[in-house]
């Protein structure tokens, strides 16, 4: 019980420190939201309008007061009002988050499963088709802009072949291409990580023992290498999981998905403090949760990594 309380208080304290740092950093960003709003609306940034906007958004108060007001509001469900849209931030985020989460999580899930299988195939047959393809996919993700790939997907699927309506079709049709785009850009890297991890197993004594027992190369590799490869891939993708919320902006812009990521990019340009602060708060909670869940998953894959187990990796 004491351990749980310690964890919860540590979690809360970490979150609070991140929130305070984010609050101060946002205020230090160059650019005044009141001027940006007035300019964008063609209103003419008169002194009286700027003062009016600042008062309406609570920016005329001291920084500590602003922070305490935001904190009290956030924990009670009042996340403030977006400077750009004039709507409650909570409502804006709640209706956009599912789109980003769906694209990010489905895309990453496809990349993990596909990358794992591809990595296994590449390790099973070095210099084979899968090995070459995974290398090409990893290099391509680094070399080709996601925007360009997105437009090529749009061109081929919607114009040349006309097999999906990515901009006006049903929800699954609209999710298909952005999900593929996210998956494509993670697949290669995950496959190479899996390939290396499986490759390490082929140098172990127990792998040769399995071969000596008459088990085929691929089967031996799968039976004795998958757990180690899964652990390695899990360690690699854990930081990537953070980007499920807020990291899919390009896919959302290209395919016109009304997600949170694109909204956050717009909020940065508008210096929409209320939206950005709430976004950071959610991402911080998500990150802390992901770290915890990943630790639990690692412990399940390798009990030696649990709190009560031996420290260290695979021996």
């Amino acid at each position: 019980m004491a351990s749980v309380a310690r964890n919860v208080s540590g979690f809360g304290l970490s979150w609070l420190v991140v929130m305070l740092a984010a609050f101060l950093l946002l205020r230090l960003m160059p650019g005044d939201p009141a001027f940006i709003f007035a300019d964008a609306g063609g209103l003419g940034a008169t002194a009286s309008l700027i003062a009016d906007l600042r008062a309406a958004w609570g920016l005329d108060r001291s920084i500590p007061t602003q922070f305490l007001n935001w904190l009290a509001g956030f924990v009670t469900g009042d996340w403030g009002v977006s400077f750009s849209t004039g709507r409650p931030v909570f409502d804006e985020i709640v209706r956009r988050l599912p789109w980003s989460f769906a694209i990010g999580s489905l895309g990453l899930a496809i990349a993990i499963i596909g990358g794992f299988v591809l990595g296994f195939a590449a390790a099973a047959r070095p210099s084979g088709v899968a090995d070459r393809f995974s290398r090409l996919a990893a290099i391509g993700a680094q070399a080709v802009p996601a925007f360009a790939v997105g437009f090529v997907l749009l061109w081929l699927m919607a114009i040349e072949w006309r097999i999906v309506r990515p901009l006006s079709g049903s929800v699954p049709e609209r999710l298909l291409l952005p999900t593929l785009l996210v998956a494509l850009f993670s697949l290669g890297a995950i496959a190479r990580v899996a390939r290396v991890a499986f490759g390490e197993v082929t140098e172990r004594a127990y792998y040769y023992t399995a071969l000596a027992k008459g088990i085929g190369r691929s089967r031996a590799l799968w039976l004795h290498g998958r757990r180690h490869a899964a652990l390695t891939v899990l360690a690699t993708v854990t930081p990537e999981l953070a980007w499920i919320i807020g990291g899919t902006a390009i896919a959302e812009v290209v395919f016109s998905i009304p997600g949170l990521s694109e909204f956050v990019v717009t909020a940065v340009a508008a210096r929409d403090y209320a939206v950005l602060q709430a976004f950071v708060a959610i991402v911080a909670v998500w990150l802390l949760l992901v770290q915890r869940l990943a630790a639990m998953a690692r412990a399940r894959l390798d009990p030696r990594l649990s709190d009560g187990g031996l420290a260290g990796g695979m021996r």
Binding site: G31, I36, L49, A56, R96, A158, L167, V171, V254, F255
Partner: protein, 499 residues
């Protein structure tokens, strides 16, 4: 192909099996017309942010006054406006106008709506402070302004003042279209307002938000939309090659200009500023941006108060002016004075990519007359402009958002203007602006605005460069659509399917 599509759609469905919590939509019934835009109203409440602007462009809402195709402020839901004293106006409402639920547009409803917006939305208090509306009769309003204004009709044409009626939790508007349903940030399904003239001739419209310009062009090419508003210039060739599509370009009032910081030692000399103005070839800028036309002055030529002609390039005269100012050519071609070279910074911002495109063109033009130029790009243009830490600053500004010239001239160039970025002070100009602020007659106001622009041209605190063009792509069904009014009036009563 249909089997492949079915398979892929099935795969997509399986892929999204866990997304049942997403907003659901039924797309089976294709509407008559589909319109794609890069922005969409986030709500249907004009009291929230800039929703009023979007609702007017969507053809859902209207104001008491609006700006017509010729750039004139004309009555719309109002019939006339009469100034009673410094801060009081009487507005007569037009007869025979209705909300989309069939109820008449009366003074009580208008007053309730505009008082509510004024209270909740700072944008409605920008031009003359808080406006208070009171029903004097069923078809007459009395409006009291916090600050005196001779141009209340123009203020009421601003996007912050759509008329609506509260009906429980819903807002009802008067535009040619009514909202049948909407998915925030994604789409609006619009039906003709049955109580608007010619309703039966009007098609139903689905309005979609397509955030990226290239994606917008591809959607038009794919036949997913009939009207694509504000296409990127790079996509026009592809669309023009398609015989089933039409691309129309039209000038918009977001004028491109270049501030010259008159507070700097070099640019405090009018001769230097005029030399810079004369050295720039506007047609080269148009060619570089691949759209637009040379700016005639502060306003596009459609406006009745636009200047008569643009500044013509005259390199010889520019050189003479620099000579007279003491900036003489050295052996290496650079202009020097007291041993120091004539060197300036030229700022632009990426939010308006055309301005960044213009930078090398302007640098080449100025270097041709011996001025060294260092280009810079800033992401926070307003901060830099207000700080005064620049020499030359490329800028985009809608100079007549509500069809009135005094907004831009007084706010950006008046000595006491809140946005006087160039720091220019000119008594003759200020006197003209003061008269403009008091004059109510439209023709006299246009004359005063032209006189003020002549004073600007003679002193060059700003160089007006290009009136940009935007581009609209149309399917054959909407080939008769004519765009105008920048992005303020996109879906209008005359948007009809071509016969």
């Amino acid at each position: 192909m249909s089997r492949l599509r079915s398979i892929l759609a099935g795969a997509a469905f399986a892929l999204a099996a866990g997304t049942a919590f997403l907003p659901g939509s039924v797309y089976a019934d294709q509407p008559s017309i589909s319109v794609g835009k890069t922005f969409l109203a986030g709500s249907i409440d004009p009291a929230e942010g800039s929703a009023g602007w979007a609702l007017v462009t969507h053809g859902i809402a209207e104001q008491l006054f609006h700006v017509d195709r010729e750039g004139l402020v004309v009555p719309n839901l109002a019939r006339s406006a009469e100034r009673v004293n410094e801060t009081t106006w009487n507005i007569a409402l037009a007869p025979g106008r209705f909300f989309s639920d069939g109820s008449p547009v009366d003074a009580d409803a208008v007053a309730a709506a505009l008082n509510r917006t004024g209270e909740l939305n700072p944008a409605a208090r920008a031009s003359a402070g808080r406006l208070t509306f009171e029903a004097a009769a069923s078809d007459e309003l009395t409006v009291t302004t916090e600050r005196p204004t001779p141009i209340l009709p123009s203020i009421l044409a601003e996007w912050a003042f759509p008329v609506y009626r509260e009906a429980g939790d819903t807002l009802i508007f008067t535009g040619p279209y009514a909202v049948a349903s909407f998915e925030e940030g994604v789409r609006f399904d619009l039906v003709p307002n049955a109580h608007y003239a010619d309703a039966k001739r009007r098609p139903e419209i689905t309005l979609r938000r397509i955030a990226d310009g290239q994606a917008l062009a591809l959607a038009l090419r794919a036949g997913e939309i009939d009207l694509a508003f504000n296409l990127p210039v790079e996509a026009l060739g592809m669309l023009r090659a398609d015989a089933d599509l039409t691309v129309k370009s039209f000038p918009v009032a977001y004028q491109y200009m270049m501030w010259m910081n008159t507070r700097s030692e070099v640019l405090s000399d009018t001769r230097v500023r005029r030399a810079i103005d004369l050295a720039i070839d506007r047609e080269e800028l148009v060619a570089a941006g691949r759209a637009g036309e040379a700016a005639r002055g502060a306003f596009p030529r459609e406006f009745p108060f636009a200047a008569e002609a643009s500044v013509a390039r005259d390199v010889a005269l520019a050189g003479q002016l620099l000579d007279k100012a003491g900036w003489l050519r050295a052996a290496d071609g650079r202009r020097m004075k007291d041993g120091a070279p004539l060197s300036l910074t030229l700022d632009a911002y990426p939010q308006r990519p055309d301005l960044v495109t213009y930078q090398p063109v302007i640098r080449a033009a100025l270097e041709a007359i011996g001025i060294s130029v260092t280009t810079r790009v800033t992401a926070t243009p307003t901060d830099v402009a207000r700080s005064g830490e620049y020499d030359l600053f490329l800028w985009a500004q809608h100079t007549a958002p509500a069809g009135d010239p005094s907004f831009f001239l007084s706010l950006f160039l008046g000595s006491e203007g809140d946005n006087n970025y160039s720091g220019w002070q000119n008594a003759e100009f200020d006197a003209l602006i003061a008269r403009l602020g008091e004059e109510g007659d439209a023709e006299i106001r246009a004359d005063l605005a032209r006189e003020a622009q002549a004073v600007i041209a003679s002193e060059a605190p700003v160089a007006f460069l290009v009136t940009p063009e935007w581009h609209v792509g149309l399917s054959s069904r909407l080939a008769g659509y004519e765009p105008w009014g920048s992005d303020y009036y996109i879906i209008r009563p005359d948007l009809m399917i071509a016969e």
